[in-house]
């Protein structure tokens, strides 16, 4: 009985924490200035893509540096359908995910033949092929000079710059609308991935990551598992790319470079490889970094180093530090703190520590929203 209540309590603490986080995320825009809100919105949009990368690389172990390609595919799907053909965002936003997912399904089979660094190199190739297309097919990308992208607009909602929405006296501007849209999509995606990795398909992905042969002997279909990881990952990435371009409203082919892929890889390493929250936490660090550095260091006193170079150096340092010291990123750090905390809490020698582990199975699935 007592172990039951302790489980309940932990579940309660977790739900309270989640509720607090949700409230914080909802009121946050009202506490930020326009520049900070823009940064926060970019972070949420990027986190959707980083979550996609974590499905592929973190959970399934397929190292990809092709993320910039899938972001671009999503962005240009939005550009063509929304900008050229004037379709509503209700169509171009999901379509961006679907088209990127189809590209993922085409690339997926290479992962059946190639592993580790070889797959990483092939996926870099994807970025170069993409850039070649983006620079040379103006009908899609506007050519080297770039193109504009449609603002999200559906029904009464218009996300164009200068527009605003008033709900019961609260004014939500263009930045705020994008912020909330990205927040909703990110939350849904996190919940989806969370369910996935706790269930049959996600276990298969992690088994493939840890030991391919053993996974196959357990009955896991390697081709199918890698394929679905590619499809889910590129869907989320395509949606993220479309939102990103739409929020930017203008992008050039040069933006979809390998450096962009590297930023996403850095985000999941810093946040936590193979974790749901790591995608968000890492995106906060990586994609808010330039803005934070800019505000901390006055341009004149940076010793002649442009902010861009400083952030590149910071990415490098962060990747090395986390790889060496905490391979599970910020989430790993959090788990350490949590286990330290619970060890302190449990010290007044209660028996039944073991039976608590054997605690019934339903409780477990709802117990920890910590990974």
């Amino acid at each position: 009985m007592s172990m039951h209540t302790s489980h309940r309590r932990r579940f309660g603490v977790t739900s309270a924490g989640l509720l607090g986080l949700a409230v914080l995320a909802i009121v946050l825009p009202f506490g930020l200035n326009a520049g900070q809100l823009t940064t926060a919105t970019f972070v949420l949009i990027a986190a959707i893509g980083a979550l996609g990368l974590n499905v592929l690389t973190g959970y399934t172990g397929q190292i990809s540096l092709g993320h910039a390609f899938f972001l671009a595919v999503g962005a240009y799907t939005a550009g063509v359908l929304g900008g050229n053909d004037h379709l509503t965002a209700l169509i171009w936003l999901p379509a961006a995910g679907v088209v990127a997912a189809l590209c993922g399904a085409l690339v997926g089979p290479t992962a059946l033949r190639l592993r580790g660094l070889y797959l990483a190199i092939v996926t870099i190739g994807l970025v170069f092929i993409g850039q070649h297309i983006w620079f040379n097919v103006p009908a899609i990308s506007g050519g080297p000079g770039g193109r504009s992208f449609p603002a999200v607009a559906f029904g009464p909602f218009d996300f164009s710059a200068g527009q605003q929405l008033t709900i019961g006296g609260l004014v939500i501007d263009h930045n705020g609308l994008y912020y909330y849209l990205a927040l909703i999509i990110l939350a849904a995606a996190m919940l989806f991935v969370w369910n996935l990795v706790r269930g049959r398909p996600g276990r298969a992905m992690q088994a493939v990551r840890d030991r391919e042969i053993a996974a196959a002997i357990m009955g896991v279909d390697l081709a199918r598992t890698k394929m679905s990881a590619f499809v889910i990952s590129s869907f989320l990435t395509g949606v993220s790319g479309a939102l990103y371009a739409s929020y930017l409203s203008f992008a050039t082919p040069g933006q979809w470079s390998v450096l962009l892929s590297v930023q996403y890889v850095a985000a999941i390493i810093v946040g936590g490889i193979g974790t749901v929250w790591g995608a968000l936490l890492g995106s906060i660090v990586i994609f808010a970094l330039p803005a934070v550095l800019q505000s901390l260091i006055p341009q004149s006193s940076s010793g002649g180093l442009p902010i861009d170079d400083l952030t590149s150096i910071a990415y490098g340092v962060l990747i090395i530090v986390f790889f060496v010291l905490e391979p599970h990123g910020i989430v790993g750090l959090g788990r350490r703190v949590a286990s330290l905390w619970s060890r302190i809490g449990l010290r007044p020698g209660k028996g039944g520590g073991l039976s608590q582990e054997a605690q019934s199975i339903e409780n477990r699935s709802e117990a920890t929203w910590a990974g």
Binding site: G199, P201, A207, I217, M218, V220, D221, E357, A358
Partner: protein, 268 residues
């Protein structure tokens, strides 16, 4: 022939060569339904290679294998589990970052149906299926005596416990045939006794055919119903433990090795 009289495993003229090196050849034997069958032999005799062929990790050079009446060599690796073959690994084939329970649930992957959408959206079907199979996985863990480790990351557990996780996972696969690759290798005497008892219970309490590869002669002679002895990739004897222990060629193959003391200690 009715299915019930077909042997569980029929191996005919099986050979495996790597270039000019022969791992084994001319292997012909049957494993009966419900039998506890052991394959023994000195180091390098071809035991593990045979296992790798039976679990479709290696493609044999010649010969045939029929499992439960069907051609085993036509199955893809990932279809083996569904056909009813489970195996454990000598050097552990566990997924270290997953918990013990999750490892055992991977064993039930082929019995479950929820795909990406049903799991991701956490629909009723996926929830019910997950609950049912978690219960079955827990049951397998309890059978192996490691229920209390269910929620521990597998990689952090000692070797002896991890070996039990492997057996529990193979059991959770609900196989007809279980291949056990050196289940007591690298274990202390006490651990060996526990695993031996566990294998015996697997055989007695579950409707399983067991094929065991083992180095530990004492264990094999105590629990196996029939023993096949390999030496330099060929069968030199096959029969009951008592028959095999009297075989001239077996004694010669093991001379100076561990058989003689093992014979002395093995009860009749």
């Amino acid at each position: 022939m009715t299915p019930s009289t077909t042997p569980m495993l029929e191996v005919r003229d099986l050979a495996l060569r790597f270039g000019s090196v022969t791992a084994f050849e001319d292997l012909t034997f049957d494993v009966g339904r419900g039998e506890l069958f052991a394959v023994i032999g000195p180091n390098g005799a071809g035991k593990t290679s045979l296992f790798n062929v039976l679990s479709r990790a290696y493609v044999p050079t010649a010969g045939s294998v029929r499992f439960d009446g069907a051609d085993l060599l036509r199955l893809r690796v990932s279809a083996l589990a569904g056909a009813g073959v489970a195996r454990t690994f000598q050097n552990l084939g566990l997924f270290g970052e997953l918990t013990v329970l999750e490892n055992v649930l991977i064993g039930r992957h082929h019995l479950m149906r929820s795909g990406t959408l049903r799991s991701g959206l956490w629909l009723g079907y996926a929830r019910r299926e997950e609950r049912r199979h978690r219960a079955a996985a827990m049951e397998a863990l309890e059978f192996a005596g490691i229920g209390r480790h269910a929620h521990v990351p597998t990689g952090t557990l000692p070797f002896g416990i991890q070996k039990r996780v492997e057996i529990a996972r193979a059991l959770a696969m609900e196989p007809k045939l279980m291949l056990l690759d050196e289940p007591v290798a690298g274990m202390s005497v006490a651990e060996r006794e526990e695993i031996t008892a566990l294998v015996r219970r697997l055989h007695h309490e579950r409707d399983l055919t067991l094929l065991l590869v083992e180095h530990d002669m004492g264990m094999v002679m105590r629990i196996a119903q029939r023993v096949l002895v390999l030496d330099f990739g060929r069968i030199i004897a096959i029969g009951t433990p008592a028959e095999v222990q009297r075989d001239e060629r077996v004694i010669r193959a093991y001379l100076g090795e561990e058989l003689e003391p093992a014979l002395a200690e093995a009860p009749r």
